[in-house]
């Protein structure tokens, strides 16, 4: 969340672990278990109930938080004494402010934020220039209007958003909390915002936690509390927190009035939600506090009747508030390109201004003698007798002034309204994307989310998609499929398709019926074997296998009520979906984990409830790649159960075992993983009393040591995990998400390369690659898994040689690959693993890898660490101009999501970190297809057109002004009134482009989905490029010439006055640019009609209103000129002559050189889609047949 790449890896060996390529830091991470160990000390064993597996980064951080707290830098909280904790009211109250502004600070702060945009500074500078009397081209009001308008619109938008934040803040701040009143010892209701540091609060089940609190007591006698952190990090599973025994015994409240002896020293507020460091002095004893003793604001209390805690961080200092950061800000490709063209326009602007200034100078020079007396110039001022010059200070200054004035007059060459239009259009596009029913995910009830509002159009230009596997391509819902016990494969459950009625293993406890929430299809033979009471060796092993599955985990079973009062469900809560799958599988075969308390678990073994004391638990770590538990069963035997990845497990098996059994198991494992299943090997060993005692003392020593605890514990674990009997192996299916193969096929057709970056091992990655049709049998696989730089280099060189060889066959595959049209004759797939990438990324070999990877159709990276994912994204990003998109769901995808041009988070099973870091979030991988192919295409097309049109529209206007300036002795007079000048881009022509930018569709959704190839137009920058820009500008020049010169020539030598001709020009240009837009609109909705024709009408009304103001020189001009036939003829002539080139070229181009989009439009129009679709489907079908 804090964006520091923090990850939480999961239990199982296969998946998503951060491959720690450097040795792990030696310091331990078990400090928080110290207290629970003492809590459970009556059992004589430390309590391993709460287990979380942490990645390296977190381990490091926790290790660092083990440093002693410096007293000077710590916060001191007196329990139950807010006055003592915070005598000077230095800490904030518990009220929060997500709102950015207050009514007073709104104006300055909002303005400050807005003026961080460079273009606004430009417009402000122009407004200021215009205030100088020598340069006052426009009236004061008129000159400031456009900027004021743009600022106002943005400010209103910001104010509205801020008002909504204020409202939610108010609701949040006024929620009720129950706070201990020190006098009466009772809990009284208080509003959240009044809670202070040091106060003691009570939170009931399912309530939200109002501030960060240190737990003092819970309803559970062992001091356990369960919280749900879904609002904090999005993880829906329950987490356990503990109250210290020292405070548990005497919870503050009626019975125990608070004594001020309790003092907590803790670190200053920080944003690390997984870390907390402090200590507490109670009764003169000092106990240390860790992250397991604190509950954070934003969490909810679950499955615990009540907790009592003391507030340590409140309001803005709570960790959730410190972590709330906005969406990342990225700039779209189109906007970057647009800035390039803006620079070009600035160059044109400067050129125009220079022309005006120079001509002005020449004119003044040529007429320097004449101007003394010329009535219209009057260089000399005789008014008070002296001979001085009136408002004239030499040619040089005049030229300089003329230059500045022309900048003011021609300022709208840089379209100020474009920025605000783009924001509004993106807002509209986001509205439609969010509302799109096709992007709604039923299963997670989540809509599409637009978190970044400024890169909508990038979705239409994506060339590379980097996808995570688990949770993105796959569901991350694990299903137990196969078991191999003693080398015998039991896959019956997988094969039998019909629902096995006996699958539900129901436990009747009195009248209550308990059953697991999910059941797994069982293999009938295996069920029979288990029911035979373990008479055979095979049966015994099978029972031990499932017993191991049921107890070798960190699952917390929760009993959930259902609508039927007699029936209760057991819900397995755990952090790893694999463990859940295994626990449900064990339950289905009759080994139901019912209860987990500190120190023991209760398992219903085929109908008998049995208590197993959990004596020790060795957590998963990425060195060992396995976990183990030591349990003492009802028969007082002490067993070690281990489960782990095959390669780590086969290294620690008993030497004198049946080799054929091992080989059979290995064969089964190979079979499972080639089916795409995730495999785990389970083993066990019975510990003798002596062994156990040795282990126990080592374990306790390690557990209580202060330094290097983690390393010691790992050593203890490795020491005991040896000489195992292999019980068997399990195969868990990682189900593909719906529609993934189809989506990948669509993207392939659309010219998008899909790369899969996964933490999985190679075999699993390849099998998933096949099952989602990413890989096909026809592909040549280039596999790179080396562990030295030298071998990597050789492999890469071989690969280069290989594609060169293919290059001989097909003319130019490398070029083709680069342009996204890879040849079909040879398709190659690159499969590379994380270790090889260590030797390749950031070295000289990167270039080679880039060449090979881009020449391949498919790239699969397995066993990659989060930073390597980002490294691969930047491999492409830094070397090509192609747009990249990263999609993932887990914390390990965060860096990749942030690196890519567009980051998409899947709001799925894993936490919300990916969503928090993403630009867009959605529920399913397959939504990528409508998102890119439909919305992306539309957004890109609309935005590209809008930008070009805005440039064109303003350029036409500026050129008209420029032509007129040539006939005013280069003095920057405008025939068009200043009000019309400023209203031109913000009122007269603004609305239609926004409406078209939001609503216009070049192609229907159906067509775009049917022909993914149409997406390539965006990748090729077809809708916005320098050529189009140049053509548009040429068109703009022509149209301005037509608009200016037709009335000019018609009215030359006539009595027409400035204002009348100005009115003709403004009306002509507004109608012309709107007609221009109208010829380019693809779809006319009634809204489009209203906007386009309404805008012309509005312009006329505005011009009429302006001409009704008697103080302006143009009073009544519009009525006079509209009464003449010449006016109407000019208007018609301007529009027809202006549109002629655009229309002819458009008609010619669409007919002679139709783009794919044009043809698809025609198909759309003439309903040839259906016929064509049939054909395509036939083709596809025959392809499949082949």
């Amino acid at each position: 969340m804090a964006g520091d790449g923090l990850t939480i890896s999961r239990e199982e060996e296969e998946e998503e672990e951060e491959r720690s390529l450097a040795p792990l830091p030696s310091s331990g991470r078990h400090h928080r278990r110290k207290s629970s160990a003492s809590a459970a000390s009556r059992d004589g064993f430390p309590n391993p109930a709460h287990v979380r597996h942490l990645s390296r980064t977190e381990t490091e951080r926790l290790a660092s938080s083990q440093r002693e707290l410096a007293d000077s830098n710590s916060r001191i909280v007196f329990i139950g004494d807010p006055g003592g904790s915070d005598p000077r009211f230095e800490t904030p109250r518990n009220s929060i402010r997500t709102a950015k502004y207050s009514p007073i600070t709104f104006l300055p702060r909002n303005l400050f934020e807005q003026f961080r945009r460079l273009s606004y500074i430009y417009f402000l500078a122009i407004v200021i220039l215009n205030q100088l009397p020598q340069l006052a081209v426009f009236g004061r009001g008129a000159s400031a209007l456009p900027l004021a308008f743009v600022l106002l619109v943005t400010a209103v938008k910001d104010a509205y958003e801020d008002w909504r934040r204020h409202r939610s803040d108010r609701i949040e701040n006024n929620r009720a909390a129950s706070v201990l009143d020190p006098q009466s010892g009772r809990f009284l209701s208080k509003r959240w915002k009044e809670v202070r540091v040091g106060e003691v609060l009570k939170v009931l089940a399912n309530e939200s936690i109002p501030c960060d609190m240190v737990l003092l007591a819970t309803s559970d006698p062992t001091g356990v509390a369960y919280i749900q952190t879904i609002n904090l990090d999005g993880e829906s599973n329950l987490k356990t927190r503990y109250a210290k025994q020292e405070t548990m015994s005497r919870p503050p409240g009626e019975d125990h009035p608070v004594d001020s002896a309790g003092v907590i020293r803790c670190e200053q507020p920080n944003r690390n939600i997984y870390g907390f460091l402090g200590n507490m002095e109670v009764d003169g004893k000092r106990v240390s506090l860790g992250p397991a003793n604190i509950i954070l604001r934003g969490c909810e209390l679950k499955n615990t009747a009540w907790v009592i805690g003391v507030a340590v961080y409140t309001g803005s200092e709570t960790k959730v508030m410190l972590n709330s950061s906005g969406a990342p800000s990225k700039r779209s490709r189109l906007e970057t390109r647009m800035n390039r063209e803006t620079l070009l326009l600035s160059a044109i602007l400067i050129a125009l201004c220079s022309v005006v200034a120079i001509c002005n100078g020449i004119w003044l020079g040529n007429h320097s003698d004449d101007l003394e007396l010329a009535q219209f110039f009057r260089k000399r001022d005789y008014s008070d007798g002296d001979d001085k010059k009136y408002n004239y200070s030499g040619i040089g200054t005049q030229v300089f002034f003329a230059f500045l004035m022309s900048v003011i007059v021609f300022q709208i060459m840089i379209p100020i309204s474009l920025y605000i239009s783009m924001e509004l259009v993106r807002l509209g596009q986001a509205y439609f994307m969010v509302r799109d029913a096709n992007l709604y995910d039923e299963s997670s009830n989540s809509r599409f989310q637009c978190r970044a509002l400024n890169i909508n159009e990038d979705l239409g230009q994506i060339k590379y998609v980097f996808s995570d596997k688990t949770g993105t391509l796959t569901e991350n819902k694990m299903e137990f499929q196969c078991a191999s016990i003693r080398g015998v494969d039991y896959s019956g459950g997988r094969v039998s398709s019909r629902d096995n009625g006996e699958a539900h293993y129901i436990l009747a406890a009195g009248k209550q019926i308990l059953k697991p929430k999910m059941s797994v299809k069982t293999d009938p033979e295996l069920v029979r074997l288990l029911k035979n009471k373990g008479d055979t060796e095979q049966g015994k092993r099978a029972r031990e296998f499932f017993l191991a599955l049921a107890c070798c985990n960190t699952i917390v079973p929760l009993v959930v009520d259902t609508s039927d009062p007699k029936q209760k469900l057991i819900d397995y809560q755990g952090e790893s979906p694999d463990e859940q799958a295994l626990a449900y599988a064990a339950a289905s075969y009759g080994f139901v984990l019912i209860e987990r308390t500190s120190g023991h678990i209760i398992i219903d073994v085929l109908g008998n409830r049995q208590r197993y004391d959990v004596l020790g638990l060795h957590e998963f770590d990425s060195d060992r790649k396995r976990m183990s538990v030591i349990v003492c069963g009802p028969d007082k035997t002490i067993n070690l159960f281990v489960k782990g990845a095959d390669n780590s497990m086969f290294g620690i098996i008993q030497n004198k075992v049946d080799l054929s059994m091992i080989d059979a198991t290995k064969a089964n494992l190979h079979a499972y993983s080639s089916l795409g299943l995730r495999t785990l090997v389970v083993g066990m060993r019975e510990l003798s009393r002596k062994e156990f005692e040795e282990w126990q003392s080592a374990y306790e020593n390690a557990n209580t040591s202060l330094m290097g605890r983690g390393k010691l514990l790992r050593a203890v674990a490795s020491n005991v995990e040896r000489e195992l009997h292999i019980l068997g192996a399990s195969g868990i299916e990682d189900k593909l998400q719906e529609g993934v193969p189809e989506a990948i096929e669509s993207m392939r057709q659309a010219g998008i390369k899909v790369w899969v970056l996964t933490g999985d091992k190679q075999e699993t990655a390849i099998s998933i690659g096949f099952s989602c049709k990413l890989l096909t049998e026809a592909m040549t696989q280039i596999v790179i898994n080396c562990n030295s730089e030298e071998s990597c280099r050789n492999k890469l060189q071989d690969a280069v040689a290989m594609y060169r060889k293919f290059a001989v066959i097909s003319p130019d595959p490398f070029e083709n690959a680069l342009t996204g049209t890879g040849s079909t004759k040879v398709s190659m797939a690159l499969i590379i693993d994380g270790i090889s990438l260590v030797y390749i990324l950031k070295t000289k070999l990167e270039e080679e890898l880039f060449k090979v990877a881009t020449a391949c159709d498919v790239v699969l990276c397995c066993r990659v660490a989060p930073l390597q994912k980002a490294g691969i994204v930047s491999l492409i990003k830094s070397r090509t101009d192609d747009m990249t998109l990263a999609i993932g769901d887990g914390a390990n995808d965060v860096s990749m999501i942030q690196t890519a041009d567009v980051g998409i988070g899947i709001s799925g099973q894993e936490g919300r970190q990916a969503v928090m870091a993403s630009d867009f979030a959605m529920g399913q991988f397959r939504f990528l297809v409508p998102l890119l192919l439909v919305h992306g295409h539309w957004n890109y097309q609309r935005m590209a057109y809008m930008i070009l049109y805005n440039f064109y529209r303003n350029a036409v206007f500026v050129f008209i002004l420029f032509w007129y300036v040539l006939y005013t002795a280069y003095t920057l007079t405008t025939a068009i009134t200043e009000w019309s000048t400023v209203l031109y881009s913000i009122v007269y022509t603004a609305l239609p482009t926004i409406v078209v930018g939001v609503l216009d569709k070049d192609l229907s959704r159906k067509t775009l989905m049917k022909y993914p190839q149409l997406y390539r137009s965006g990748q090729r920058d077809e809708r916005y490029n320098l050529k189009l820009f140049t053509l548009t500008m040429m068109d703009a020049v022509w149209q301005s010439v037509a608009t200016f010169y037709i009335p000019y020539l018609a009215y030359r030598q006539s009595t027409v006055d400035v204002s009348s001709l100005g009115d003709l020009w403004i009306l002509a240009v507004v109608i012309l640019v709107n007609i221009h837009l109208a010829t380019d609109v693809f779809r006319w909705y009634w809204i489009t009609h209203v906007a386009v024709w309404g805008c012309i009408g509005a312009t006329l009304i505005c011009v009429i209103i302006i001409d009704c103001i008697w103080t302006l020189p143009g009073y009544w001009a519009i009525f006079k000129i509209m009464g003449t036939g010449l006016f109407w003829l000019c208007l018609l002539g301007v529009i027809v002559a202006g549109m002629l080139p655009h229309f002819s070229v458009k008609a010619l181009k669409e007919y002679l050189m139709p783009s794919d989009i044009q043809i698809a439009r025609e198909m759309d129009k003439f309903r040839r889609i259906n016929a064509a679709t049939m054909e395509i489907q036939m083709n596809r079908f025959s392809m499949l047949q082949l």
Partner: protein, 348 residues
């Protein structure tokens, strides 16, 4: 939720739950972007008929405006150089600035064709930048409109106040430079009456120029710009001033001087007496006297007619060109075989 054998009761619960607060976007044709729409396409028929229609429309309009322009009879007489006596040709400015010289100038004009009344009399100035930035703003509309604002002389410098500080009404360069040549006409020594009423816009007389505002301190400075005004006539009646103050759009412009309310017969000789007072010599300007009838397209101007004919015939030509194109290179619209990936499938 692909649970293989999920509990039905649970599913039902979940369904109820989902229904309660489903975030599923409500279907509407608007939000799904499926509003009914017209999808115009430039089909050959539309292209050809557009061009043909424009052609058919424009050519008659062009012809009509050409003939209207033809029917306008116009007499243009440039007099600025001719009205300077031979001896002053070298220093025209001195001649025009001198108050002693006789600036009367006589000439005869021949009426080329019959001119129906009203015949408009214009003066035409060339190279006079009434749209010059220094000039065009040099006025004060408040002062012109009402007596209350007599003291309002903003923007009027250097013709704002007299030396002693009292305001000039009307102030500013535009009023100061009021054109002051006068013309009188006679046919066979019989004077023709020139109607100088209603030469200005009624709206200007009603609203822009006040009936209680009388000229004051006008044209009293060291430099005389042009005409003097009768101080007993309110500005709203000073139609020459009002016409002058509707500043022209272009540096070559005509302004209405008056009307001759009688028909002029072809080949009649009109003797014109010009008082050549206005100084256009200091900036290489030109002065012309114009007598012209009007038509529905205004004065004599062939441009629009020619332009319409050109555009119209161009459009007809384009229509033909497109017909030829469509015949020579027929293409079925919306034929999928034209799609790039179908055209060269190996690059797919």
């Amino acid at each position: 939720m692909n649970v293989p054998t999920a509990d039905p009761a649970l599913e039902a619960d979940a369904a109820v739950e989902r229904k309660k607060k489903s975030k599923k976007p409500k279907y509407s044709r608007f939000t799904q972007q499926e509003l009914p729409a017209c999808k115009p396409l430039l089909t050959p028929t539309i292209v050809i008929s557009t061009f043909a229609l424009i052609g058919i429309l424009f050519i008659p309009i062009g012809l009509a405006s050409l003939s209207a322009s033809e029917n306008v009879v116009e007499i243009v007489y440039r007099y600025d150089t001719e009205c300077i006596p031979q001896q002053s040709q070298d220093d025209k400015v001195a001649f025009i600035q001198s108050s002693a010289t006789d600036k009367t100038c006589r000439t005869t004009l021949t009426v080329p064709k019959n001119m129906k009344a009203p015949v408009h009399i214009y003066y035409e100035l060339y190279n006079f930048y009434q749209n010059h930035r220094r000039y065009v703003k040099n006025r004060n509309d408040k002062q012109l409109r009402s007596k209350e604002y007599e003291l309002e002389t903003t923007n009027c410098a250097p013709e704002a106040t007299t030396v002693d500080g009292s305001p000039i009404v009307p102030c500013g360069l535009i009023a100061w430079s009021l054109f002051n040549d006068t013309y009188s006409f006679a046919i066979q020594n019989k004077a023709i009456e020139v109607n100088k009423k209603n030469i200005a816009w009624q709206s200007d007389k009603d609203e822009k120029f006040g009936s209680d505002v009388y000229p004051k301190n006008f044209q009293q400075g060291g430099l005389i710009g042009g005409a003097k005004l009768n101080e007993s006539i309110p500005l709203s009646e000073q139609e020459d001033l009002i016409v002058w103050m509707r500043t022209a759009a272009l540096p070559q412009f005509r302004k209405l001087y008056g009307r001759i309310e009688t028909d002029l017969v072809a080949n009649e000789q009109i003797s014109v007496t010009i008082q050549n007072n206005y100084n256009t010599y200091s900036f290489e300007g030109e002065k012309k006297l114009v007598l012209s009838t009007t038509s529905w397209i205004g004065g004599k101007n062939d441009f629009l007619g020619v332009a319409y004919l050109t555009v119209g015939s161009l459009c007809l030509f384009l229509a033909l060109a497109f017909i030829v194109l469509y015949l020579l290179k027929p293409r079925t619209l919306g034929d999928p075989s034209y799609l790039s990936w179908n055209r060269n499938p190996d690059r797919h």
